[in-house]
């Protein structure tokens, strides 16, 4: 492993994102002869799911199961000839293929005939009044606090939303000595039971889940199924959250059995949305797949998209979880090696079959979890009019509805008319909700569309690109003849 900044900018393959899919893809492609550059904005590989403790922290005792997998993947990468570029924020991707990034030492870029997007997912949080209050954080943020930063999210935390992260975060807080006021789950016990057959495909993970539930029970933490946060406000002691029951369509049953909890942190998340910004910039064909988290690039089983040379690996192509992402990354890395002529079709078939078998088992588990986390239109329908949808630009549901009344028919039009999605997060936090609100009026998510992908992928200060210069050094052309 060498620092890519010191090496040539040209490569055979660029991989963006060093989570499980990116590490799997990069190492497999390099193993079969491709010169690979793996780029990530973080200081080490692992992505969000296997994010290591930061440099400067020393782990005491043995690693937990996730940390052990993360360490193994980082070890695999370190032993491989993959060139790694950590701490590099990718702000632009362009045709066939150029990737521009900035790091502490300024701008840099790489080129290659093939590009794998392994950019993972962002967390979906269905807005409610008060979700912008400081102290309200994502479930994934709470995971990062607990696992990487080794901090509790608050003294007393309300854990809310849906999916397996609910239990992981609540149990993590308890184990670290914190308090959990309640676990508020949109799903019903029946929803959870229906995942059991698929969970049996990963008995190790099932056992962990059972352990979390047992711990919550033993500590007397109330688990409220088919409940949601109605709203959060500031109070003298921190935050006050109103929670209440929801119906089968996950709409709050207004005014019934609502109660208020005094807490100082809310950790809330409603599943994951595939991070498709790179495949959208290249205008790859996408489709809306509710059970896989939303809009995804169309791809074959190895991750080839409709754009030649562009591949999508892992959750950025559909939420199936970390284990399936690593296997799918391995398959995509093999496909890139085959497409670049490094292995012949027979070798490819021989190598890909066992990986695919292993992926299928993990995919079954991932699909069950993804199903628990999939968004229901009822949740969007129930958002109160005064609720902020676009956090960057403070655009409320009422303002979006007014724009739709006036004729906005796609999310891109909503963006142009209201500034929803135009702020520094570039629509990552509001895009899914804006699409759901539009779908309620135009019939389906496909008609509502998705935000057009455009660089910059992240907001960056322009002086990082220009560097420092003297005005006197700028050549000024003479005036045009009159």
């Amino acid at each position: 492993m060498t620092d890519a900044a010191l090496m040539t900018n040209a490569a055979d393959l660029l991989v963006i994102g060093a989570g499980p899919a990116g590490v799997g893809a990069a190492t497999m492609a390099a193993e079969h002869g491709l010169d690979v550059v793996l780029i990530d904005e973080n200081y080490a590989a692992g992505g969000q799911v296997y994010r290591p403790m930061p440099p400067g922290f020393a782990r005491r005792g043995s690693p937990g199961p996730d940390a052990a997998i993360g360490d193994a993947q980082r070890e695999l990468l370190a032993r491989s000839p993959v060139r790694t570029a950590f701490g590099k924020l990718v702000w632009s991707v362009s045709q066939t293929f150029r990737v521009d990034a900035v790091g502490e030492d300024g701008p840099t870029h790489w080129t290659a005939p093939a590009l794998i997007a392994a950019t993972g997912a962002t967390e979906r949080v269905i807005p409610f009044p008060g979700w912008t209050e400081p102290g309200v954080i994502g479930l994934a943020a709470a995971t990062a606090l607990l696992k990487s930063q080794q901090m509790l999210p608050g003294r007393t935390t309300l854990v809310a939303g849906c999916g397996p992260l609910l239990l992981a975060v609540a149990a993590g807080i308890l184990k670290a000595g914190g308090r959990v006021a309640a676990v508020v789950d949109l799903a019903s016990p029946v929803d959870w039971m229906s995942t059991l057959p698929a969970l049996a495909s990963r008995p190790d993970l099932l056992a962990r889940g059972v352990g979390w539930v047992t711990l919550l029970k033993r500590r007397g933490v109330p688990v409220l199924f088919r409940h949601a946060i109605i709203g959060v406000r500031r109070s003298a002691g921190g935050l006050a959250a109103t929670i209440g029951p929801v119906d089968a369509a996950r709409r709050p049953i207004s005014g019934v059995l609502e109660r208020e909890l005094s807490i100082d942190c809310v950790a809330v998340g409603h599943g994951l949305v595939p991070g498709t910004e790179i495949s959208r910039i290249f205008r790859a064909r996408h489709r809306f797949e509710h059970s896989l988290g939303g809009w995804i690039a169309e791809r074959d089983r190895t991750g080839r998209t409709s754009v030649g040379g562009l591949y999508v690996a892992g959750d950025s192509g559909g939420i199936l979880g970390a284990a399936a992402a690593f296997q799918q990354g391995r398959m995509t890395g093999l496909a890139a090696a085959r497409d670049r002529g490094r292995i012949d079709p027979a070798t490819f078939d021989r190598l890909v079959t066992p990986i695919e078998r292993s992926r299928a088992r993990n995919e079954r588990f991932g699909r069950a979890m993804s199903g628990l986390m999939a968004a229901h239109l009822g949740q969007a329908a129930a958002i109160a009019p005064e609720t902020i949808i676009c956090r960057c630009e403070d655009v409320t549901r009422a303002e979006l509805d007014a724009a739709i009344d006036e004729g906005a028919a796609t999310v891109d039009q909503l963006k142009a008319w209201t500034r929803c999605g135009m702020g520094p997060c570039q629509g990552r936090m509001c895009g899914d909700t804006a699409g759901a609100l539009m779908a309620l009026r135009v019939g389906d998510r496909e008609s509502a569309g998705q935000f057009t992908g455009r660089p910059p992928l992240r907001p960056i200060p322009i002086d990082l690109l220009t560097g420092t210069y003297d005005y006197a050094d700028i050549p000024i052309p003479g005036p045009a003849p009159l």
Binding site: E41, Y43, Q48, M53, P54, P55, G56, F57, A58, R59, R60, G61, T122, E123, T132, E133, P134, G135, V136, I137, G138, A140, A141, A144, L145, L146, Q149, Q150, M151, L152, P153, G154, R155, A176, G177, I388, R391, C392, E393, D394, G423, P424, C425, R428, M429, R458, P459, P461, D463
Partner: protein, 102 residues
């Protein structure tokens, strides 16, 4: 080693020596490797800026450099504080853009 603040978990980790930093001129301490956002959060500072349109307070939210809610000013640049590693002498200011609050 006993750590400062009651939100840090001590069982599984050995931290380095405390470093000094400031937020809006207030002196604070945290550990190397912590992000600025989480070091502020664990010190009880949750409000990092005011939203430009509504003027309502905002703080860290996604902790992965995506939402941009935890943006603060550091040396004349706006940076998401969850992506900034704490270092000795770091001086940060609220990410509010002066004059934009309504």
């Amino acid at each position: 080693m006993k750590t400062i603040g009651n939100g840090r978990i001590d069982d599984a980790v050995e931290r380095g020596a405390l470093v000094d930093f400031t937020f809006d001129g207030v002196p604070l301490r945290g550990y190397p490797g912590e992000s600025l956002a989480t070091a502020l959060f664990v010190s009880g500072i949750t409000d990092l800026r005011k939203a430009p349109r509504s003027g309502t307070p905002r703080g860290m939210f996604c902790l992965m450099g995506i939402c941009q809610e935890c943006v603060v000013w550091i040396e004349g640049r706006r940076q998401p504080s969850c992506q900034v590693t704490l270092r000795d002498g770091l001086q940060a200011r609220s990410g509010t853009i002066a004059g934009l609050e309504s």
